[in-house]
Each structure stands twice: as C-alpha cells, then as structure tokens.
Amino acid sequence: MKKLTTLALILLVAAALLPRPAMAEYAADPRAEIAKAEPWPAEITIPSSVPVTKDMYLQTAQVFLDDAKAKAAHYLQQPQPYPNMSFNIDNASWLAREFKQTGEEQYAQMSAGFLEHAHRLLVEPQTDIRNTAPSWLNVVELYFIEQWLGQSPAYTDQHRQWARAICRGACPSFGSGTEEYGAFNRSFHRAITGEALLKMVPDVNEADKWREYKEQVWDYWWQFRDQDESTDHYTALWFQYLLEWIQMRGNEQEFWADPGIKKVWERYLYQVFPMGVFPHYSDSTGFNVSWGHWIWIFEAAATHWQDGRYKWAAHRLYDYGANRIEKLTSWSYTGEEAGWSMLNAYEVADDAVVEKPREFDILMTMRHKGVQRPEAESRATRQSFDLQPEMATDKLIFYSGSDPDGLSLMVDAVGDAGHSHARRPHVIALADHQSVLLMSLGYMERNPEHHNIPLLADYEGFPYDNTPYYTKNNNNLLQEANVVDLGAAGYGREVVANYQGYPATLLREIVFIKNAGVVVKDTVTMATDLRMRWSPLWRVRNVGPDYGTNWINTYLGEWVPLRGLGVNAPVLTRFRNSPRDLLIYFLPDPEGKLELVDERETDTTIPLPIRVQYTLREDLKANQPVASVSVFIPHGPGPAAPLAQGVRVLVNDPLRTVLEFPDADGTKNLVVLNGTGAALTAGGLTTDAQVACIRHVAGKVSAVAMYGGKSIMFAGTEIAKQAPAAQENRVPAG
C-alpha cells in the first residue's frame, strides 16, 4: 500500500507539471480533480457475521426495542402524553412486539400504556395539536398490536375500544376520490389499511367502500401476481405491504403455494449482488436503502419454499448491511425501519434452510408488461398503469458466480413502469471485490448526464422531443434487449429508439468477462444530418491517481453515501466500501476528448459528483453509425497506467471492434464485436463470431466464449469448440 501511495504521489506531481490542455468551459482540469480525491485509507477492516443466523436479526433490532423501553420509562411517567399520535403508536408496536418475543408482561403493560396515551390525545384537549390527530397510517399498526398483545391481561377491553376509537378517528370516511388503483405500493398501502380497518371496526363509516376498494386492488394484482413499479425502494415497500396483507387476509397457505408468487419473488432474488447489496435504481433514495426490508422479504420466501437461494440472499444482505452501515441510528429508514423488518425476518426465518447459490450468472429479469395510461385517463381513473398478460424485459444482470468478490453488473432494460424513468439502457451498478465501482444517483437526479448512459445533444436547438424522463414520453423506446451467458463471458445488447428525443437509435452492447472486466460499445445512428456533441458517460466519485488522454482511474472511496432528496440534501447514511479502483478506458478516437465535469460546486453532497466522458463533436450523417467503446478494468487501488498501457486496439469502427485488455490478474482478454456478418482477421485471430472472447495467459488459452458464429482461429488453432453453448436465461422463466 505504501509503495502505491508513493507512486501515486509521483504521478500526481508529474501530472501537475503538464500544461493544461485546451478544454471546454465546463470541463474540469483532471489534475485538480485528482488533487481533490479522497484517498483510500491505509486499511479498511470490515467485520463479518458469517455464518449469519436469525438471532443476529434480533440483535440488530434490539437497539430499537431498547429505545422503545427507554421511552416508556420516561414518557409513560409524564402526566401528559407526548403530543404525537404516531410516536405513541409506534412505541406501542415495538413493545407489543417485544412482548410477543419474550412473553414478559411488563412489555405488554408498556405497550398498553402508550395506547392509553394515544387515546388521550384523541379525547383530551391538547395545547399543541400539530401531530395529535390519528392518521390512516396508524391503522395497520393498531391491528397488529392487538394481534401481538393477544391474551395479555394488560390489553383490556378498554384498550380494544380505544384502539377502535383511534381507527375511527383515523378513517372517518373512505375518502372517495383520493384512492388509487393498480398494482403498486400506494394502492397496496391504502388497501391494507382498509383490510385492517374492517377487521378492527367492521361497521366503520363507508365500510362497503373500503371493502370494495381493497378487494378490487387485490383482484387486480392477483390476475398478474405482479406489480407495475421499477424501483428498488418502492418495490420493497410493496412487498412489505403484501406480506402484511396476506397475514391479515389469512390466505398465506394459498399464497405461498401459488407458482405466480414464486415468479415475482425470483425476479428480485436475482437482483441481489453477491456482495450483499440490492442496487438502487429509478425513484430511490439511494444505495442499498431497503436492505432490512429485503432481508424479511427473502427470509419469508426461504422458509415457505424451503429454498436456500433466498436464505443465501438474505444472509448476504445482512452481512453486508449490518457490518458496513456507518451508524444504524443515523436515519430511520435504513435504521429503525430496517430493524423492524429484521424483527419480521427473525420471526419468519428458519435456520434449518441451508444457503444455496442461484442457478444463473447471466440473465435477464422479466416482468409483466406495463402500459402507462395517458395523463387525463390516469387522473380520471386514478390508475397510472395497466399490466398486460405478456412478459417484458426488466434488467440485464451479469454475475461472476456467487462469490461476494465477483464482478457484478446490472443494466436497465425496463419499458414503461411506475416510479421508473425512461433512461434505458443505463448501467445501474458495477461492483467488484465488494466495492461499488459504478452506481445510479437518486430520486431527484433526473437529467441524462446524471446517469450512466451516453449523452447526446445538438448545438443549435433542433426540435427534438425534450419531454422530461420522469413523465410519460416516447423517448428512449426499448426496441430490443437480450443477454446470453457464454461461459467465461456474457453478452448483452439493447436497442433504443428516439434516443434522448432525437431521431436517433442507440445500440448498447456489453461484453462482460467474468471476474475480469467489461466492454461497453455504444453505437449511435441518426436519421438526419446534425452536428452533435455526444459521449459515453460514467458517474464517479473520485479520480486518480493517474490518467491519460483517453483513460482515467476512478474509485468510489471508503464510504458509499446515501443522501436525502435533492441538491445539497444531507447525507443520511453511509455504507463502508471495500478498496477497489476502476480503470475507465475509452478506445481512442481522433475526435474524442477525455472530459471530467465536477458538479460539487453546485451540489456539495451529490454522491457521484464527477462525470467522466469521452466527448466527440461531430457532424453526424443520416444512417451513418458512429460508435464509442468504454472498457472497465477493476483492479487494486493505485495507478492504472500499467493496465491502460496494456490495452491493444486491433480494429475499431462502428461495426467492428477487436481489442485486448489485461485484467488485474494478468490474464489477457481478447474481445471481438463484429456486426458485419462477415469473418474478420486481426491480431492472429480469424473469426466469424458476432461476439467472441478469448482469455489467455502466456499464449495459453484459458477460456473461450463465442456467440453467433462457428469458427475462431487463434494463433493457428481452431478454438471455437472450447466455447460452451450460449444460454439465454430468463427469470422468471416462461
């Protein structure tokens, strides 16, 4: 480490002596950016919880249980209740749960005490009434409190009446005109409120409307056994509501036996990176935000299906989250709410289920096609999406097996979906050796340059369709998405029309070489002549210690921040990252310029402040494709020059790319992308493959991957037979 630091310092000084190249106004000086970089600490120690057991979930949640007990010791002794309805009911929930876990009557008494205080807020005059009214959000809690306190003598008939009075106050009417329909988190939240309300107060006002509504929401989603949102954050909420709902409906046996349920669960099972994180995408507050919820969601599946794959995912998520979160109590969503889900996980988990890796490395997740209703119809019907019977693409996923250190990649391939954005085909996350190398930004970062997709813009004001991504639009229309597992490598491709609103098509091809690196080729074809500025773009947090004219070393740094919504929002939680760097290498182009854009000046807390782009300013001609190729090579922290200097470009044009790059282990990776349909010869290689990858060390071939051809002659030997058959893995299948 010390040697690397010294070398980095030398390179930094050398770079500082170089004259600043001519740059666009917006481009930052790489030397200045390198000087600002947060260095990796000399050592990062991360504890391990392996082997994970269900008791650990309880231990993690204990801090919040203890907090509720401390609050009881103080607030229940006060003459006046604390003037916040949710505060009292939340604490009643935690303590009812503790009573259920321990059977100790004192906790039932504390829970009942908070319920009494909650009821006093309802019936006694209060000085500060800002937060004393009950909310419909309290109803489900009250239902479960009653279930957990059960037969405790502390929970008297009077408490039952109080709970019902609060429910009536929380939902004085159905609130016609504010309800929403469809299969998504908000409709589910309201529907489970109705379910709980009718169980608590069957004769509540407008009971028929509540009943009709919740059944309508249930019947709709049950047709498809699916939901319409593409977001890690809201999907986790949706699953939570669903798990609570089936408990209330009492149909758990039928539910867990249904094959459609297995399908929707499996889609998300495969989105857990082997390192133990659930990457965030679309409308999400950030990295691994719902880690606790997913643990519950997967433990429930592991137990009911006795399926070790879900156990594996839950344990990985716990080991990562519990040991890497900076401070569990820094933010309620990643702390208290995660802890609550871990109590649920503790309750449902079966330690007898043995962890089992997932079957597939490289796959495409699928979902029921969603069709967004026009805005007027959506407003009139209070439903935004219609699910369709047919399946559609969701995410392209690339893993290198189940080892937590394995190289992992996720790319968006979703069509219309709720809480999603038309940013196809952006790279959602890239990780290696348990280090986040690329990821998305959050909820409010809504411009194309905020995401890992090519930028495309003209200079003159061509009347392209500039409808924002986050509203319904006809831009970035997904025309094709496919992925194949080729053994040592995977190949994915997406074709997107109306790219960025222009009469343009983007073809993004990805060659993922397991535990080695990734090649991304972006090919843009305009339907009109136009001068454009375009570039592949990758969001990073730190750059350095070295760079070249067409490459730069990058890394995220010791902490992966998760912040609130919007510019300059405070950082709420951080997860500790493992040390690993990423060389971003752009295949050289006479028109290309490596550019860094630093957004820290206007947004001081943005988790990924730097845009790394290889910018081309070109007069694009109609129907004449142009391409740019990015190569990602993860490696240990330190200079990337040795790797960058090892990249060989043998052929590179819009239809053909042949390159070789060394990976961190010293293996050479020869990659072919050939869209011509004809054989090509380059660097001792002749092949008719559409995609090929040859891994070799010291002249010895260690692995061959091939797609769309029959022959690979390498160093005079036909090696195509060494390539396994391509597998098209779809999850869920069918």
Binding site: A24, N447, A457, Y459, T467
Partner: protein, 352 residues
C-alpha cells in the same frame, strides 16, 4: 447598455448599508394630505352614471386622507394623474404605493372593471419618451390595503415622470371603487451592493418552456448545457427562462443576473429579450428589455444585472426572460444576489 451592471464591476462597489436607502419621495402630495392638489382628474361618464374622483377623509393608509375613484357600474372611466415629477435620466427610482378596492370581481378574473397604473416619461420639453410603463392591478377586490413596490430605470432622456391611475368599467361591470395612498417615487442610488448571499440557478435544469425552446450542448457553460432560442426552429412563445418561483427569499434588496449569449448582433439594433421579476401578489418588481446593442460581442456570454426590492408578502419571485424571436439567443444561468436583508426598521422606512 449602461443600465446593466457588469459582474466584473461588482467587486468595486461595496457600499451596502452606506448609501441612503430611502431618499425622500420626489412626487408631491403622494399621501393626498392636501387633498387632490396637484393631481389631474379625468372622468368620462357619457350616461351620467355618477363616476367620480374624490379625496376620502375617512380612509387612509398614511396620514388622514386618500384618493378615491368610483365607478358606479356601466361604461365609464376615471383617471388620476400625478403632478409632473422631476427625475434624472438614467437613474433608478423606487415607486411604492398602497391601494385597496371594492366591487370589481369575485373570481379574480376580469368582470368588466379594470384598474391599472401607468408611468409616462417626458423629456425636458415635456414630450413623451419611451420608457418602462406601469401594470394592471388586481381584477378581484382587494379589501385590505396592499403595498406595491417597483423599481424603475428612468430613460436617459427623461426629465419628468407622470404617474396615472386609471379605472374603467364596461356595461357588465359592477359598481366599484379604488383607493390610493402614500404614493412615493424615491431616487434609488446606483451601484451594486455587497453580496451577502448568492444563489445560482441553471436554466437548462428545466426552468424554461420545454414546448418551445431546447436544452442544447454548449461548450461555454459550466455544465456544458444551455437553453437556446433559435429562429430557425422556433417562434417566440413562452419564457426562455422562468418558473423558478423562488419562495425563500426574505424581504430585502437584491439583484438578478441573467447570463445570456446572442448568436449574432445585427447592424440595426433590435429588442432581443424582455425580462421581469414577477411575483404572485404584486406583479413585477422590475422589468425591462435587452437589445442586441446591449451585447458587447456575438457568441460570448454576458451578464445582465438588474436590481429589485423585495417587500414582504410577495409569496414568490420569478425571474423571467421572454425572447423576441429575432436572433438566436442562449441562456445559461439566473443568479440571485442578496445585497441587504431588511430589518424591521428598513421595512418601516420602505412601507410607512
């Protein structure tokens, strides 16, 4: 050109708090304490409905009297024009007044009765010269006294200004009355104050009319993007920049800086843009135009700085730029610089 303060000069003028913020009003009898003396009254009432302008000794925001305009419903007009007030060409003036009204409209939409004020700038020969005008006042009744505050830049040739309040009613209008009081025109010292706070807003982030204009690549901006108006592709419509609706600014003195680029500078100067600082409750705090002649160089970004005084209760401030459709124009940022946050004493001086 001179009216726009170049950013480069800001550092040289650090006089915040040192200059006299609130000079004496140069407009005589603005509180109508001498009745309507000096003011010119004009009424049209062909049907003899009873339209009139009077002093009201029973209602006043300041002192004991106010001016009252009454239209009893039906076609009629009433205009109240101030004495000719000497001004210095090229200088800024702060116009403030109070008004209230009854009748008018229940919906805040036009219902036959209109109320507005106009400014007429005159040269030394008392001939009108082009300059910033007035604005319409609320269509709906304003039962409580409402404070109005606008900063004006006197045309270079101006030697006098006349302020006129005009009320009109058509055959559908209901009986309505309007009162005016504490009309002040105060010379406003030149120069920029020290920046207490600065907020930069990038128009290309979305505060423009997306239906008309386009976010484009621009290598001359800090983000690499700008919003462009190009007559080759667009017609003038909507705001090239606008929609920030700044709700967190506290009462005080500010300047707004529009960072703009003109694609070409025609030999014959043309009005390129109009700008304003719009509010929810009191119209525009300041407004004006930018000509192609105001640009030093084509194809180069230039800052145009304008000042405004923000009183309480404006609800929001929306700095806006509308394009004339003549020449390709790009906008990068709108910067708001806070020069002074008003104390209660400042507000008293401003509004009393």
């Amino acid at each position: 050109m001179n009216r726009y303060l170049l950013i480069a000069s800001f550092a040289l003028v650090l006089t915040a708090g040192a200059y006299a913020q609130f000079a004496e009003s140069v407009l005589p009898n603005g509180s109508f304490e001498e009745g309507l003396a000096g003011w010119t009254l004009s009424v049209t009432d062909a049907q003899g409905l009873g339209a009139k302008i009077t002093e009201d000794p029973a209602q006043a925001k300041h002192g004991a009297r106010s001016a009252q305009l009454d239209l009893p419903g039906g076609p009629s007009t009433a205009s109240l024009a101030s004495p000719l007030t000497p001004v210095e060409g090229g200088k800024d003036y702060l116009l403030t007044f109070y008004f209230r009204s009854e009748g008018f409209s229940d919906t805040n939409l036009f219902a036959g009765v209109n109320l507005q004020f106009t400014l007429t700038w005159l040269n030394g020969e008392k001939k009108p010269v082009p300059g910033p005008g007035g604005a319409g006042l609320a269509y709906g009744a304003v039962p409580d006294w409402r404070f109005m505050c606008k900063l004006y830049h006197a045309p270079a040739e101006a030697a006098f200004m006349a302020l006129s309040y005009r009320m009109s009613c058509d055959e559908k209008g209901r009986p309505s009355s309007a009162w005016f009081d504490r009309v002040q025109l105060r010379p406003w010292p030149g120069g920029a104050g020290e920046a207490l706070n600065t907020w930069v807003y990038r128009v290309s982030e979305g505060t423009f009319n997306r239906n008309v204009y386009r976010r484009v690549a621009d290598d001359d901006t800090p983000t690499g993007f700008a919003v462009i108006a190009n007559p080759e592709f667009m017609t003038n419509s909507g705001y090239l920049a606008g929609g920030l609706y700044l709700r967190t600014l506290v009462p005080g003195q500010y300047r707004a800086i529009f960072r703009l680029k003109a694609g070409e500078l025609p030999a014959e100067p043309q009005t390129l843009l109009s700008w304003d600082l719009n509010t929810a409750s009191m119209g525009k705090l300041n407004a004006g135009t930018i000509s192609t002649a105001d640009f030093r160089q084509a194809g180069v970004y230039q800052d145009f700085s304008v000042r405004f005084v923000l009183p309480p209760d404006a609800q929001f401030v929306d700095p806006r730029v509308a394009w004339s459709g003549a020449v390709t124009t790009s906008v990068d940022t709108i910067t708001i610089v806070q020069e002074k946050e008003y104390t209660p004493e400042d507000l008293k001086a401003l509004m009393d």
